[in-house]
């Protein structure tokens, strides 16, 4: 690791800790987990409550609906949790991250560090490592905590190993999404275009991929894998390698843009 990258990582860790972004990330995950868990465990009693209040009320249809929306089965509840993380957590992260690096570059914050041998690639890579790493680890931990809570309150149908694999895969999903976002924000002229692309892909592609036989090979299948609480681990290597490959191509493009040309 270069000296420039090391000091930038240290700087970005301080940024995450001191600007309240860690609290935002953790709070968001806690909020999503709390919401799903509370709706599943507590609000599933709503039909019964309604029945006692409104005599003759058809509670069966409502109960079915609640079960469908908030299933009291560990794997299905985790699917719901991971989908919410994939959609909302990603959305907030993308909004938070999309203008950060271009903002620093345009404000001239990089001018002094660059004079001392810190390269734009050091600054970009450290953001990916710190923000992607912290978000990814938080999601992995959040997933496992949710799993343990779900095992306490719901019908158990998922092994710990399966949950651990899904947690790690979802962590990598978030790491990849953050990295895509940061790379695109520096590659494209308008960072918002990158943000919209990432959000569109994350929200739409996992569902679209299901309709095609080659969907399991798409990079977004890592999301589909977690959304399905799948245990078919053979689905993982190809999308994983594809994600790494695409990111590597983008990294080379960025390196070309920022090492050979002046910004």
């Amino acid at each position: 690791m270069s000296g420039g990258l090391a000091v930038c990582i240290k700087k970005d860790i301080k940024e995450v800790l001191r600007t309240g972004k860690l609290i935002l990330i953790a709070g968001l995950l806690f909020g999503i987990g709390f919401m799903v868990l509370v709706f599943t465990v507590i609000f599933s009693n709503i039909p019964k409550e309604l029945w006692s209040l409104l005599e003759g009320f058809d509670i069966e249809a409502l109960e079915k609906m609640m079960e469908q929306f908030y299933p009291k089965i560990v794997s299905e509840s985790l699917e719901l949790f991971s989908y919410n993380v994939g959609a909302f957590f990603t959305l907030i992260l993308v909004i938070m991250m999309q203008g950060q690096l271009p903002g620093e570059r345009d404000a001239g914050t990089w001018i002094l560090p660059r004079q001392h041998g810190i390269t734009p690639m050091d600054l970009i890579e450290s953001k990916c490592i710190v923000y992607g790493g912290i978000s990814g680890v938080s999601v992995t931990m959040g997933y496992l905590v949710y799993y343990l809570l779900a095992m306490t309150f719901m019908e158990r149908n998922m092994t710990f190993v399966n949950a651990l694999v899904c947690a790690l895969v979802h962590g990598f999903n978030i790491l990849f999404i953050v990295t895509y976002m940061l790379f695109l924000s520096m590659l494209l002229k308008k960072p918002i275009a990158g943000a919209i692309s990432v959000v569109a892909v994350v929200l739409l592609m996992p569902d679209i991929g299901r309709f095609f036989p080659f969907g399991i090979y798409l990079p977004t299948n890592l999301l589909t894998f977690v959304y399905d609480s799948s245990s078919n681990y053979r689905e993982l290597p190809v999308p994983f390698v594809l994600n790494v490959f695409i990111l590597l191509v983008m990294w080379i493009m960025l390196r070309h843009k920022y090492m050979e040309k002046r910004d």
């Binding site: 090391a6 000091v7 930038c8 002094l112």
Partner: protein
């Protein structure tokens, strides 16, 4: 010698720098004077390598080796969540805490001050320390005092003079001409994409242009009729006498002779030197 030769730069077909050339003696302070939008920052960016010129070259050598250049931009931006010492550690890549402390003391800042809470003057001082962290031979300072209060400006001026005494060469751009007068050795007027005039600021200070005389009561100005149009009443009881550049001694004798013949008391006489601001205004008008 630091030599800027025939720099040209256009943006979207509009020429910002048409043909900029000037030389700077190592160890001196050179002031780049121009109105907003004259191209000072563009020229600084080219000199520092952040932007490329369409043509021309910048040579920073002392005859044998290439001189190291440090640049402090106009609106310097920091990582506000870091402290002063952490920021310098970042630039020094955590390798030289002794140098970090030395730099902080040079700009009169202490450790542990959060950058986000610092005044503009303090930020500017930190900026100078940050540039010096790379131990440059030449410092390019873009508007280093423009946004500062008088105390902040005085601090920065003092730091610059201190650096000059240590042999650093500085090129600074500003439109605060009082700063140029007090610290620069030479200055160049950048206008319409070229250096239209260069001034030896130190020599300028020693050049007597005339006298400013404050009388006890306003005298009869017809006494100075033979001085021609060299007399101007600038305010009540104050007259300015401009020397004729073609014959300074004769013109001086004429004025002093007329003053000695007056029977009005004189409160004060002071010599006037060429005014950089006035010179700049005339250049722009021309």
């Amino acid at each position: 010698m630091i030599s800027i030769r025939h720099i040209k730069k256009s943006y979207d077909g509009k020429a910002v720098l048409k043909d900029v050339s000037f030389d700077i003696t190592p160890g001196s302070i050179y002031g780049l004077i121009g109105i907003n939008g004259a191209g000072k920052t563009t020229l600084m960016n080219i000199m520092t390598g952040l932007s490329e010129a369409d043509s021309g070259e910048c040579e920073f050598t002392d005859g044998e080796k290439r001189l190291k250049v440090g640049y402090l931009p106009d609106l310097v931006s920091f990582y506000d969540y870091l402290n002063t010492d952490e920021y310098l550690d970042l630039l020094l890549m955590d390798k030289d805490p002794a140098k970090r402390d030395e730099l902080l003391s040079m700009v009169s800042l202490s450790k542990g001050i959060k950058i986000g809470s610092m005044s503009r003057g303090m930020r500017q001082r930190l900026g100078i320390a940050a540039v010096l962290a790379g131990d440059p031979d030449v410092l390019l300072l873009d508007e280093p005092t423009s946004a500062l209060d008088p105390a902040g400006r005085a601090d920065v001026r003092e730091i610059m003079l201190n650096l000059k005494s240590k042999g650093k060469t500085m090129i600074l751009s500003t439109h605060v001409l009082a700063d140029m007068d007090s610290i620069c050795d030479r200055a160049g007027f950048l206008h319409n994409g070229v250096i239209v005039q260069e001034v030896d600021v130190q020599q300028n200070k020693n050049t007597v242009m005339g006298f400013s005389v404050r009388f006890e009561t306003m005298p009869d100005m017809s006494m100075f009729a033979d001085c021609g149009d060299c007399v101007k009443v600038t305010e009540e009881c104050v007259a300015e006498f401009h020397l004729d550049e073609s014959d300074l001694i004769k013109s001086q004798q004429k004025i002093l002779g007329a003053l000695s013949r007056m029977n009005v008391g004189i409160e004060s006489i002071r010599t006037t030197t060429p005014d950089l601001e006035q010179m700049f205004k005339e250049v722009i008008k021309a």
